[in-house]
């Protein structure tokens, strides 16, 4: 085990979230393919995303997407902004803060229907 500094965790997290997003992409390809079976089948299939359990999984997806995109901007700045490498650590703290703020805001709307006892649009 090597005890790296924050940049190592930033990189590792970027890799892990990248793989997680790729796995979701496969799920996404499957759900979009269902569109070929007509609107009724598609709408019913998509109800799976309203299940409380799947909503919790979606929280993970959101965290991964937010982190990966904000950190992607950080990496781009490190590469193209001459002072980027110097400020990588404060930028990483910024990435984490933006991720947390974005996660809380989006997570609220994802989980709200569960707490209201109406996880999908059919029960209303």
């Amino acid at each position: 085990m090597y005890r790296g500094q924050s940049g190592m965790w930033a990189w590792l997290l970027h890799r892990v979230t990248g793989v997680a997003i790729l796995l979701f992409l496969l799920v996404h390809i499957v759900d979009i393919t269902i569109l070929g079976f007509g609107p009724t089948v598609y709408n019913n299939a998509l109800l799976v995303f309203s299940l409380p359990f799947v909503r919790v999984v979606s929280l993970g997806l959101i965290a991964a997407v937010l982190y990966h995109s904000f950190n992607g901007v950080r990496i781009t700045l490190i590469d193209f902004w001459p002072k980027g490498a110097k400020y990588q650590q404060p930028m990483w703290i910024g990435v984490l803060l933006l991720t947390i703020v974005g996660f809380l805001a989006m997570g609220y709307y994802i989980m709200l229907p569960v707490f209201q006892g109406c996880p999908n649009h059919l029960c209303g």
């Binding site: 090597y2 790296g4 190592m8 930033a10 990189w11 490190i78 590469d79 001459p82 490498a85 110097k86």
Partner: protein, 253 residues
């Protein structure tokens, strides 16, 4: 992972502390590969870790093997993984390590014996980037003059002592030992950004290769461990930009 107990300010000058030092031993002729051995050593908080290793070797186990030469942080011989970080044993004080200390050979290098790693591939990569002045123009009557700004441009790279701490801390090196590694790029930077040098395009071509700069994932472990304080990743990024933009941004005067 060793839990470090801090030695207090009051202990520093007067007291000796009993250290528990765990060392990852490799003795190929004995068939020992990567086996932890524990030593208990009396040391002053102001001893350097190299002094502790010397005490073990001289009073407890003469077979303990490690490299050291100048013992003053200049030759770069005794880079090793101390408490999980690559450090020079001669530059780190016991007071900064706590009473439980672990020492391992650096990652990314073949281990020869105990804390000694094979540096041959490291130097082969270093030579690959042509670490010398390339300039076939007829020498001027005076020295090849430089402005302070031109000298400043490559200053960071001149500090490298080739200890290998950066390269041993780099996950890209652990994953691919063919990669030139941060040390080569730092030393390439030292000449690429030297206004007297004419070999920049030659070196940039070598570093634009698939085993060149692009395997740097900006992880920054190298910059953290450099015992000379070289901002290694910043220099690597300079070289990346020089490749992308076609030439290094060297001050003209």
């Amino acid at each position: 992972m060793a839990t470090a107990t801090r030695v207090t300010e009051a202990d520093r000058d007067t007291q000796t502390v009993t250290l528990t030092v765990r060392i990852k031993r490799t003795q190929p002729d004995e068939g020992i590969v990567g086996k932890w051995q524990e030593f208990r050593v009396e040391a002053s908080p102001l001893d350097r870790f190299l002094d502790v290793l010397n005490k073990i070797k001289w009073t407890q186990d003469g077979t303990l093997t490690y490299r050291r030469s100048c013992a003053h942080g200049v030759c770069g011989s005794d880079a090793m993984r101390i408490n999980g970080h690559n450090r020079l044993a001669c530059k780190i004080l016991v007071a900064d390590l706590g009473t439980k200390i672990s020492a391992e050979p650096m990652l990314g290098y073949p281990v020869i014996r105990d804390l000694v790693v094979d540096m041959d591939p490291f130097f082969a990569k270093y030579e690959k980037i042509k670490p010398y002045l390339i300039n076939d123009e007829p020498p001027p009557a005076t020295e090849r003059l430089q402005s302070p700004a031109q000298r400043e441009r490559y200053d960071q790279g001149t500090k490298c002592i080739l200890c290998g701490a950066c390269t041993g801390s780099c996950p890209s090196v652990w994953a691919n030992r063919e990669w030139v590694g941060p040390h080569s790029i730092v030393n390439a930077h030292r000449f690429i950004f030297d206004s007297r040098d004419r070999g920049a395009s030659e070196r940039l071509q070598i570093l634009a290769d698939r085993t060149g700069v692009w395997r740097c994932r900006t992880i920054f472990n190298c910059a953290e461990v450099c015992p000379r304080g070289i901002p290694v990743t910043e220099l690597i990024e300079d070289v990346k930009r020089a490749i992308v933009y076609g030439s290094p941004d060297v001050p003209t005067d």
